[in-house]
Amino acid sequence: MTIPVFEPWNDPEAKPLIQFQNVTKRFGEFTAIDDLTIGIYEKEFFALLGPSGCGKTTMMRMLAGFETPTKGSIYLAGQDMAPVPPNKRATNMMFQSYALFPHLSIWENIAFGLKREGMPKNEINDRVEEMLRLTRLDKFARRKPHQISGGQRQRVALARSLAKHPKLLLLDEPLGALDKKLRQDTQFELMDIQEKTGTTFVIVTHDQEEAMTVASRVAVMDHGKIIQVATPDRIYETPNSVYVADFIGEVNIIDGLATPNGEDSYAIAWKDGQAPLNVKSPNKFSDGQKCHLAIRPEKVTINAEKPTGVDNVVEGKILDIAYLGNISTYHVELPSGVVIKAQAANTRRISRRAFTWEDTVWLSWTATAGVLLAD
């Protein structure tokens, strides 16, 4: 039996639920969103990832209706959203500050949106009870927001925004205020709820781990533009630019000049006196073109003896060791002064660690381990 893969973005027939069409948003002189076009599909868990000020929150606020595009249009289920005020949109938002009404109980907070719809009383009761069960808040229904913990408040905010069955749920840094452990638990809870309700989620975050964990697709943003949209694994494994490679996880960037030496194969001249690096890349480079090799530390092997039969090998000295418990990151300084990070799992007890400071080691990686990126 094969499990159908959820990737509507590869299906030319699929219609996106949300469509940004050449959207530009300016605040005075400042351009927050710069000519942005993108489609988000139904049932997606879409993450907008980027540093603060990159425009991700502006994008979300335009979806909610709190900002209107300076140019271009946004469509929700084929309908142009420009003239629709926030209170008439089939979207709900979970605010970064949660924005729970302090004068209302948890129950009344969740029922707030339903009452505005004019839903009959017994239906409101049922729906609120259902949301309380979904977010495991049954016991706190009568309390006020200031009488519950941060994690519980976060769940109330989620329940309140889901209560109206929105077509689209917007989450603005939803887990920012939680501590790390709780955040991880809540991430899985969010995915679970998203799956159960089948709602389309758009999440804004600056935490790349969070985006990678929860999202079906991640859009990496910078200066009002989307740099890359792809599934988390593709964002990580095949970033399309140095910016994305650098923003997501740890990476070694080696600058050099490419010389083609076979089909999809290049020799990279990178430092005087060092043998050129062998790299395979589907991206085409011309002779002598400037390029950057992005290679993840965990794809670099660290050896005590010079290995044979490998595509790339360099010699260096251990400068620093970052011990993270399960893994260690070794900062290895090459004779040319370049520092390359290599990661290895700590399969042995720390007292029997194979490498220590000032050891001479050999770093090796395969021709396909890295990604060759243009300037």
Binding site: M93, A99, L100, F101, P102, H103, G113
Partner: protein, 293 residues
């Protein structure tokens, strides 16, 4: 010990400047009028002793307050004027406080200054200025006649309308400041959340902004209601002969009639009436403090 001193200072202050004078006034209210200096009797005399002195005190003046309908009418009229002025001040002050709280950050200090600015001139001078504005030949009538809106001057001065104008003008800052404080703390995202959940601008205001500024509204209302109830200067300068307020009655009993005991009884009853809103005000402040914790 230091803490004790810190607490003792306000209590001593209250004792010296409120409780002791109050006991004196209470004592006078239980005395009888006399052609003497001071104009009441009995006086405490060491020779006859405390019991002889106390036995001469009675509640005659309080009984008198219930017998002459001038007094309860004055109390009722004062309550009515205080209530109506509080509502009017709220209606004028709330939009002003709201606009101030929504103004750009850099303007707020200036706007606040403008609200407080009138306090820099004497209260009495400002009330006299209103006489100049509201009288038949005053600025307001001159202006209205000049624009051609009226042909005959309006009689505003020496009516209740002038009293309301004067009270609303004078007490407006006391209404604006607590409401402004409550509105300024209001998180803008709460309004957005309400709109996001299906509220129009107006329902969001009604269901979120108003309830969350309730403590400010209550505080401001009491800060206006309590002093207006005993107000004397504004009704006597701007009001007419038919403006009946207890502050004015008190003054007349004291200075025109020289009936200190009845005047004191009027003051004691006024204080008893004021205790109710003061207790309610205290409770509001306490609730607000609890909510903030």
């Amino acid at each position: 010990m230091r803490r004790f001193t810190l607490i003792a200072v306000p209590y001593l202050w209250l004792l010296a400047l409120f409780l002791v004078p109050f006991v004196i006034v209470l004592k006078i209210s239980l005395s009888d009028v006399a052609v003497a200096r001071p104009p009441y009797a009995p006086h405490f005399d060491w020779a006859t002793g405390i019991w002889a002195f106390l036995s001469e005190l009675d509640f005659e003046n309080f009984t008198w307050l219930t017998e002459d309908d001038l007094y309860w009418k004055a109390y009722l009229s004062s309550l009515k004027i205080a209530f109506v002025s509080t509502v009017l001040t709220l209606l004028v002050g709330y939009p002003m406080a709201y606009a101030m709280a929504r103004a750009p950050q850099e303007w707020r200090a200036t706007l606040m200054m403008l609200v407080i600015l009138p306090f820099w001139t004497s209260f009495l001078i400002r009330v006299y200025a209103w006489m100049g504005i509201l009288s038949n030949e005053g600025f307001l009538n001159q202006f209205l006649m000049w624009t051609g809106m009226i042909s005959e001057p309006l009689t505003i001065l020496n009516t209740n309308a002038a009293v309301y104008i004067g009270i609303v003008y004078t007490y407006l800052p006391f209404m604006i400041l607590p409401i402004y404080a409550a509105l300024e703390r209001l998180d803008e995202s709460l309004i957005e959340a309400a709109e996001d959940l299906g509220c129009s601008r107006f329902t969001a205001f009604w269901l979120v902004t108003i309830p969350l500024s309730k403590t400010g509204i209550v505080a401001g209302s009491f800060l206006v209601f309590i002093p207006v109830l005993g107000e004397f200067v504004i009704p006597s300068l701007l009001g007419g002969s038919d403006t009946l307020m207890i502050g004015k009655v008190l003054w007349e009993e004291f200075f025109s009639n020289r009936d200190w005991p009845v005047a004191s009884a009027v003051a004691v009853v006024l204080l008893l009436i004021l205790i109710i809103p003061i207790v309610l005000f205290q409770r509001n402040q306490q609730k607000q403090q609890e909510a903030e914790q």
